[in-house]
Amino acid sequence: MSFHLILFLAFGAVCVGGAVNLLAQRHPINSALSLIAVMAALAGEYLLLGAEFVAAVQVIVYAGAIMVLFVFVIMLLNAGEEEETKGSRVAILLGVPGVLTGSVLVAWVVLRHSGTESVAIGALPGHPADIAQLLFHDFLLPFEVTSVLILIAIMGAVVLASKPEATARKVD
């Protein structure tokens, strides 16, 4: 067993555990913390795939900025434990076997058809310079459109989150 495979399995175990914990926890802050663990472990997987820059951005943007926003909103709204839901018996009877069958089928197909092919680790260094070359030449138009998207998102967030009476006063 190669060292990379051991690292892959370790980070993958953290990912799987965090994702299952996100579903199992009832309090949103616990779910948020397990999601941060998933994202940090995913950054490790990106490093194994040779995508250093993506790994750094994953930690800074996802595990940093976006999750801080989530935790901030959870604390701002003082979100408590979520209430028990009445589970539908038909959903459990049909859903659980369906999910198990589907996942086994997908796993079998994926392992069968791409089992011999391999990812060469370190063969594709994700240097920021190469990525910048792509981003600012080949994908220049999407990049510029993205800036408009972010501008609209900022304005939308400010308008939506501001107090209703403050917005009404501005309209008047």
Binding site: G12, L22, S31, V54, V73, I74, T85, A107, E117, I121
Partner: protein, 104 residues
């Protein structure tokens, strides 16, 4: 650098598992914030398969796509959380079962 190998299928299975966990969380969770976090989990699962395929096909464009997904996720999180704050302000609840009308 000594090349060592992890099969592409392992990355795809992990990515599929994360996406499936996101779908299940989206369906079974009742707290609107946790539902939102499940969507982020789905996006992360897709990002992992983008990076794995980028490494597999030696196409750096896959990593650029991940940045676009991250940008959309950030914009979506900002607007979505603002909507959650607005919903909480008018309904005083985060339970999606009690948010079943567009009209107050």
């Amino acid at each position: 650098m000594v090349p060592s190998y992890v099969p592409l299928s392992y990355y795809l299975l992990l990515s599929g598992f994360l996406f499936a966990c996101g779908v299940v969380g989206f369906l079974i969770k009742r707290n609107i914030i946790t539902i939102f976090m499940s969507i982020e989990l789905m996006l992360n699962g897709v990002n992992l398969s983008f990076v794995a395929f980028a490494a597999h096909w030696h196409a750096l464009a896959g990593q650029v796509f991940v940045f676009f997904v991250m940008v959309v996720a950030a914009a979506e999180a900002a607007v979505g959380l603002a909507i959650i704050i607005a919903v909480y302000r008018t309904r005083e609840t985060l339970n999606v079962d009690q948010v079943n009308l567009l009209k107050l």
